[in-house]
Subunit: 630 residues, 2 copies
């Protein structure tokens, strides 16, 4: 919904598989061939990301030579390889397409419904695991090794991790068991490109002496230039020859965005703190420059090769505000008034809106790295001393990874504000590891925790004030796509816990929702229904795990039918708490009730197609409401 | 409820605080005084645990000398100290009582309502954090240090961890930030007693070169004999003198149960794999022997001192089966028939009933150590290869720590069986870190996951078969206290997802529940209500996150009032799903509805007093039902 109308037509180019096959067939030296393949896959990776409108260039490019080496030279037919970080998905897809292992047509369908998901998913061939939730890969690989041993299967297992990813504790939790079980079958390659989501790893949470760390955990350690095929070949050979009886890590020193000067982190200016090509799609001028450089590099090694082109009209993005940006400004303003406020981040300073805060209050900003459990427990320690910590991450990670840590803070009665951005089904392009539709359920029963989802910029600012003034801990749930016009100017009603506001007066058919996505779709559905004579009353209830019984009784008295629509799984969210409260009210004739939410694991795709696929577009909602009436 | 009638009277002895004060006042040498204090606190620790009927002796005794050193000699008035592992709570309490910092009367109230909780809780003076959920201590301490720096407070922070605890990834996740921030204020002491819950750390998940690990993470490392006051003093002095500008760890080599031969791990026979004094209370003969040894040791260093005694009647424990034991036998039987079955454990082989499985199928048993995230992702890897993994831990940890890992397995469509023991409010003695009353809520919306809680041995066996045969993943929720007589012989009705069984025929007042605790209390409440003329119908609904709409419609048709009683928080569990389903049925006149569950953070105490405190005893339930009728 944030990106449906199309912009200016542009021409994008890719290398067809037939040309890749021809080029590879003409190169005898394995290292030169692998190098050539990597240069060609980078061209197609860039095409895919431009076509999709978003994707991880930097990480795909830094890993391209390692992936090329593995796929062309190292992996035997039965060997297993997967990427744990998942950010290199476009590059991995491009390589698999280049080798004919995925359909060529998928080049054009990155991050589209039925195409290739933003992060790896088992629904795609050659993807044994869902990744994108960081730090699980080594553990999963250990499971495969243990199963293989039981089943008598001779298989080597290769896992590619990021370096920022190593900040997740699960990596270190997983190492001991592999060493103890002498897992010579298991090789981890670290794509050590030195830059994580926000900026340099050393500035976020320095990894220190990485070789010493792995060695201390009992692993064999090798290190090489991850862009040099001769060095990579030697490292894999030594791994097999010298350490066959234990797990090994190959630390591949790489450059984020390697392969063209435009994207390479080595091109960053001294005063640039943020690497610009981690995610998203490059601007037109960056694309053109990078594409030219990539072509030149590829032709230098591959000789001439043919290209295909396609015209494409990129989606036009809404220019309305994003709630995390509004939130970030409001938090900085709050901090200016309230010295207790301190902000914690888990390597998502841009996406959680924290840059203004960080600039204004650098001493009250704690960058924890990709270490959500550590962050949440640190917040507990800060709250113990009377400070008011705001802990930030994407909702998908924040509700789940430190779930027990949040509970421990709750049982201590500490007030901590948890702020999750990227909440809900949209944006749908990154895929389900990043679509938080289980967060309300997983946090709903935290003692004393209030779950609050604002729908508009003004309500977001009011929510920040609520967080400051309430005695409760709060989970603030922020949708990250630009605010739909229907909700961008919605005024904030006073935030009274459990009470909602009518945002569209209508008849005795009432729909409750929260947040910009659901309310905008409901308001559009109401317009469609009005055209057929049904006046839908739309209610904004921003409280997701509590509802005021008196307010609900009043609303129910004015309703024949009550719908609760959720940007969340149908189970465990707002519909459950409204239904439970309504039933316990014991009204003589309660309204007919239906909860509508996400029924299945979220699909990946363009926002409009995914909303429709899950039955949550305005059209589908109007249909569902109409059907329920008859 | 499992321990209400009393047994034979026995006499237990402790050292009164006045005597401790007198003895300490008579010793000038600080090391001798700290040593003396530790010997006296061990006597009182044993008293407290005997009196409570359970507690962690081994860990309290191994840490006693370190705690004595810290409290008497190292900590300045404003310094902060807490134990991260929490298992040493009785020892820590005994020391604080001995120094007059906690009321002497609390010696008699370990693990009792209003007394001293089984694991540290902020409700007790001098406990800054709730612990017992492992691996969070270093992170919390970092939060305090960061807050202190902002507030200009000069404070040193000391955290005591276990060694098994270091298997949790959060510890390693937390180290980098402390090094990066040069936290000279932060000292971690590892109580390196070499034995974790089940057995030797080296046999569970070997820590390898612990000094090298901490060094690789940028910490200063010191090591000493944790029972030698001179060595401890030297280590703390070196920590301050040589490493003032960075975080430091003191690895204190200790012996689990140190202080008397009877409990010391060094007394274990070669063929003993399990240390017998990790938790629980010692048998009478062990108590007498250990008490004698402790007295002798204390008198050797303290000279003569007076003792107080009290007569005490220990609770008689029910001899009925515990569901995890029944489960474990059934799992081993299943494994004999089904070669896909593989069991994973997180250092709770005894408490999860896995010993029979482990003995019969050692090659199909994976001991992961205290590393639940690793375990759950390993299970995902095993399932990828077509095996059927059963992953085990206490419910309190299993639902929360690896919450995101469970979700990732779910989105991959892998079938994994998660088995949580120690589910619910009872036993209430360990305290809320171990009372899982939020597990259903936190897992309810996992796609495809079935949550099942059996009420009886027979239903437990049927549940194991269900787990083998269903296409779904299952979270099997097992209460660990002995089955109350009312449910011990309850037959298993066929397990049809979402459908329950009437276990007591009555009138149109219907109560739904699941599991042995709730059903036993409801059956007792029904007897009480019957005496006043109300015939309560009691229904066993073992499905906690789904209910069959047709079955519920039928039940609702026979009910004027419907209660759902839960061994869980009131929010997010079975009552929510029953209410939602009931309301969506759109019955013309639905029954009056009330959900009854745990409203507040669980109290610690004897089972009967805690059930009553939360309004879930038969008497309270009968009262609530009676009141709701009028």
């Amino acid at each position: 919904m944030a990106a449906t109308s199309a912009g200016e037509t542009r021409t994008l180019a890719w290398v067809p598989v037939s040309e890749i096959t021809r080029v590879l067939g003409g190169i005898e030296d394995p290292c030169r061939r692998a190098h050539a393949f990597a240069t060609l896959t980078r061209i197609n990776t860039l095409y895919m990301i431009m076509r999709a409108g978003s994707g991880h260039i930097g990480s795909s490019f830094s890993a391209a030579d390692v992936i090329s080496r593995l796929l062309l030279e190292e992996l035997r037919e039965d060997d297993l390889f997967f990427s744990s970080k998942g950010h290199d998905a476009p590059g991995l897809y491009a390589a698999l397409i280049g080798l004919g292992r995925l359909d060529e047509d998928l080049l054009h369908r990155l991050r589209r419904l039925g195409g290739l998901p933003g992060h790896p998913d088992v629904g795609t061939p050659h993807m044994p695991f869902n990744t994108g939730s960081l730090g699980m890969g080594i553990s999963k690989a250990k499971g495969v090794v243990l199963a293989n041993r039981l089943l008598g299967r001779d298989q080597r297992v290769y896992v590619l991790t990021g370096d920022g990813e190593l900040q997740e504790g699960q990596n270190w939790e997983s190492l001991a068991g592999a060493a103890r079980s002498a897992m010579g079958e298991l090789t981890v390659i670290v794509d050590h490109n030195k830059i994580q989501s926000d900026t340099w790893v050393r500035d976020v949470s320095d990894l220190g002496d990485l070789e010493a760390k792995f060695t201390a955990f009992g692993w064999a350690v090798l290190r090489c230039d991850g862009h040099d095929q001769e060095q990579l070949a030697a490292a894999f050979a030594r791994r097999a020859d010298e350490h066959a009886d234990r797990p090994a890590v190959i630390i591949a020193d790489t450059v984020k965005g390697a392969g063209c000067a435009r994207f390479a982190a080595t091109s960053m200016r001294e005063d640039e703190w943020r690497y610009r090509f981690h995610s998203g799609a490059p601007a037109r001028e960056d694309y053109l420059a990078a594409h030219g450089e990539l072509l030149e590099a590829a032709r230098a090694i591959c000789g001439p090769f043919g290209m295909s082109t396609a015209d494409d009209r990129p989606p036009v993005k809404l220019q309305t505000p994003k709630l995390p940006d509004v939130y970030g400004e409001a938090l900085a303003d709050l901090a200016a008034r309230d010295a207790r406020v301190i902000a914690l981040d888990a390597d998502l300073v841009l996406d959680t809106g924290l840059i203004p805060f960080w600039r204004r209050f650098p001493l009250r900003f704690v960058e924890c790295g990709i270490a959500e459990q550590d962050m949440v427990s640190i917040a507990g320690g800060l709250a113990y001393r009377g400070l008011l910590p705001f802990a930030h991450s994407f909702s998908c990670f924040l509700h789940a990874r430190p779930n027990e840590q949040i509970y421990t803070n709750a049982t201590e009665g500490r007030k901590v504000i948890y702020v999750g951005s990227l909440a809900g089904l949209l944006p749908a392009a990154p895929g389900h590891s990043h679509q938080a539709v289980r967060d309300v359920s997983a946090l709903a029963a935290m003692p004393g925790l209030v779950i609050l989802e604002p729908a508009s910029p003004e309500e977001t600012r009011a929510a920040v004030d609520f967080c400051a003034n309430t005695p409760h801990s709060v989970y603030l749930r922020l949708v990250s796509v630009p605010c739909p016009p229907e909700t961008a100017t919605l005024p904030a009603a006073p935030l009274v816990p459990g009470r909602g506001t009518v945002v569209r007066e209508g008849g005795r058919t009432v729909a409750i929702g929260s947040g910009p996505i659901v309310l905008a779709q409901l308001l559009r559905a109401a317009e469609a229904l009005a055209a057929t004579g049904l006046e839908l009353t739309v209610v904004n209830l921003p409280w997701l795990n509590r509802v005021d019984a008196g307010w609900l009784a009043d609303l129910a008295g004015r309703a024949d039918r009550l719908f609760v629509v959720e940007n969340h799984y149908t189970r465990g969210g707002q519909a459950d708490v409204v239904a439970r409260t309504l039933l316990e009210l014991g009204l003589p004739g309660p309204p007919a009730f239906l909860g509508i939410g996400v029924e299945d694991v979220p699909r990946c795709g363009r926002d409009d197609e995914v909303l429709a696929a899950h039955g949550l577009s305005a059209e589908h909602l109007a249909d569902t409401i109409r059907k329920h009436l008859s």
